[in-house]
Symmetry: C2
Subunit: 340 residues, 2 copies
């Protein structure tokens, strides 16, 4: 098939390309009847305006990018679901990029995307707070709005949507203390990353406030991947013999469950566990898992809304506020007082 384009369609209708073009936009400078005629014929010939040509002309892509560390994670999934709802309602398309927690990849994506490929970017960052973020300035220079969610760089002045990480971590730790724990391990992937840091602080402050010592060895540095985490915990649990465990990320609680199963450690009898988690089936685990649940879907909606405000606002008055959503602590069996 030779491809159909606006010119051929115009010829077939004995009209000019401008008129045809007008039929496909909400342009009122066109006769209703001709518009109908054009659309009818277009359907017949299978014509659709070429997206790339339109974008080139309009300098608008109607596309946004979402950059996340990974997909195999209920949290990001739900966020993307929220984003999708907002985006598709506005007729926007979504490009998805996975950094795999690789900082270099993040830089590469951003560079790639700063060429007008997208109208805006939503990102949960992969790198460490300490690292250089100059590559992000390019976006500002090019007027491409950026919104952070969950994992953020604090030194970059863009709109951010997070949850109350510090407070939730404080509560979670307090919850374990009140359940009778004294030696509470904190599992974290990167305690220098935005969220890891905040959650660590909440953990520390809760200990302090309840007169418990902060013991650095109880902070267990974990990995992004499952198998190394199993190894780490196989060593750490017998060595540290904690009676409480607070996981900063769902995946770490899962690993802990597996290792407890292996080593015959009773939850919550010998070890009480609570974790940040977006797992819908937390109640079905053995034992059911106490969670701090972040409003992930809502977060996607909010972040997307901020992003579209920036896009529609023409990048002029860039809002740079931070929205903090509340997480919910749901106690279940894994952290119940012994005997229950």
């Amino acid at each position: 098939m030779d491809p159909i384009n606006i010119k051929k369609l115009a010829e077939a209708l004995n009209l000019s390309t401008s008129t045809v073009s007008r039929a496909f936009r909400n342009n009122n400078d066109i006769n209703k009847a001709t518009k109908e005629r054009i659309l009818a014929r277009a359907r017949e010939l299978g014509y659709q305006p070429n997206h790339y040509a339109s974008n080139l002309r309009e300098r608008k892509s109607r596309t946004i990018a979402v950059i996340v560390p990974e997909l195999a994670n209920n949290f990001f999934l739900q966020v993307i679901n929220g984003l999708e709802q907002v985006a598709s309602a506005k007729g926007y398309h979504i490009l998805i990029y996975l950094t795999g927690n690789d900082y270099e990849k993040e830089i590469s994506f951003i560079n790639h995307l700063s060429n007008g490929r997208v109208d805006g970017i939503m990102m949960s960052v992969s790198g460490e707070t300490a690292s250089e973020h100059n590559y992000l300035h390019k976006l500002r220079d090019k007027n491409i709005p950026l919104v952070f969610f969950d994992r953020i760089y604090e030194d970059i002045d863009v709109p951010k949507v997070t949850t109350d990480d510090y407070e939730s971590a404080f509560q979670a730790t307090e919850h374990l203390i009140q359940a009778g724990c004294r030696d509470i391990a904190f599992l974290v992937i990167n305690k220098n990353l935005s969220i890891g840091k905040k959650r660590l602080q909440g953990y520390q402050d809760a200990l302090r406030q309840h007169g418990l010592p902060y013991r650095e060895e109880l902070v267990v540095d974990c990995h992004h991947d499952h198998d190394p985490n199993l190894e780490i915990l196989r060593q750490a649990l017998p060595a540290l013999k904690p009676d409480g465990l607070f996981a900063a990320v769902e995946r770490l609680a899962i690993a802990a469950y597996f290792v407890c199963q292996e080593q015959g450690i009773q939850i919550p009898g010998q070890l009480k566990i609570i974790s940040f988690s977006s797992l819908e089936i937390a109640p079905l685990l053995n034992p059911s898992l106490s969670t701090i649940t972040q409003p992930a879907f809502e977060m996607g909606i909010q972040a997307a809304t901020l992003l579209f405000e920036a896009i529609d606002g023409g990048g002029q008055e860039v809002k740079t506020g931070q929205i903090v959503l509340k997480s919910e602590l749901v106690p279940r069996q894994s952290s119940s007082r012994a005997g229950n």
Copy 2:
């Protein structure tokens, strides 16, 4: 900032746009030194070739679309992960579209994508086999390759990647029978959809082969959404009193677990359960869930590979074969013989 483009960069370097353009492609018709100089200056000025202009010119988008019914599903997640691995290795970008199991949306996406927006499409279909699929012919007319995975339309002649649904369903049913079940319920969302149909057949044939009657009332039609499923099962379980339950989709097993918990039905004592599922934490459920696990990641890789073969092959010799991957039955406590 006034935007930088190839022309300005060329001026700044006292070169022609053609030369600059060559520097950004693997074009050997260029002096190594000038190329270096161009790239250096480009970095300095923050120049990146405009994606839309390039695409318009080259008629290649280096972008593919993946259309899935939903995201909140470990299976699709893992498939997309596989796809992403293949695509990013080839420098392709991924657009993601969610149908929400809405057939109309699927049609709309396909129409949208038939304008050259993408170089290829990977889809797990949302509609019923019975419905009209003429909108898909447009893709063929426009030489946009399409590959189906998991949920397919059999009447459309494109490459397909599925798993051995019939055999797995047969095995799963047989597994329950051998565990002592006689009244085995089959939970399915759409028994007319490709996979639902195959799995139903496997279920039926296994019953027959083992001399058990096929009772239509034991086939429970479920919903895509969680809450309605709870309602359905709250009614169905007490009414049917099955001693075995085979869920065609992970989500249905989850719903069954919740309802059993509510109604105090013992798994596996009173009811044995097995389900298609890609849940990594199936071993941690209470009780651990017996699964038929599809090689989802592998499926993503295979489907993406087929897609790129079609894309790179210029859409000429369109392969239309079907790849069938093997699923794995993993027995766990939820279907163990009473007492274990």
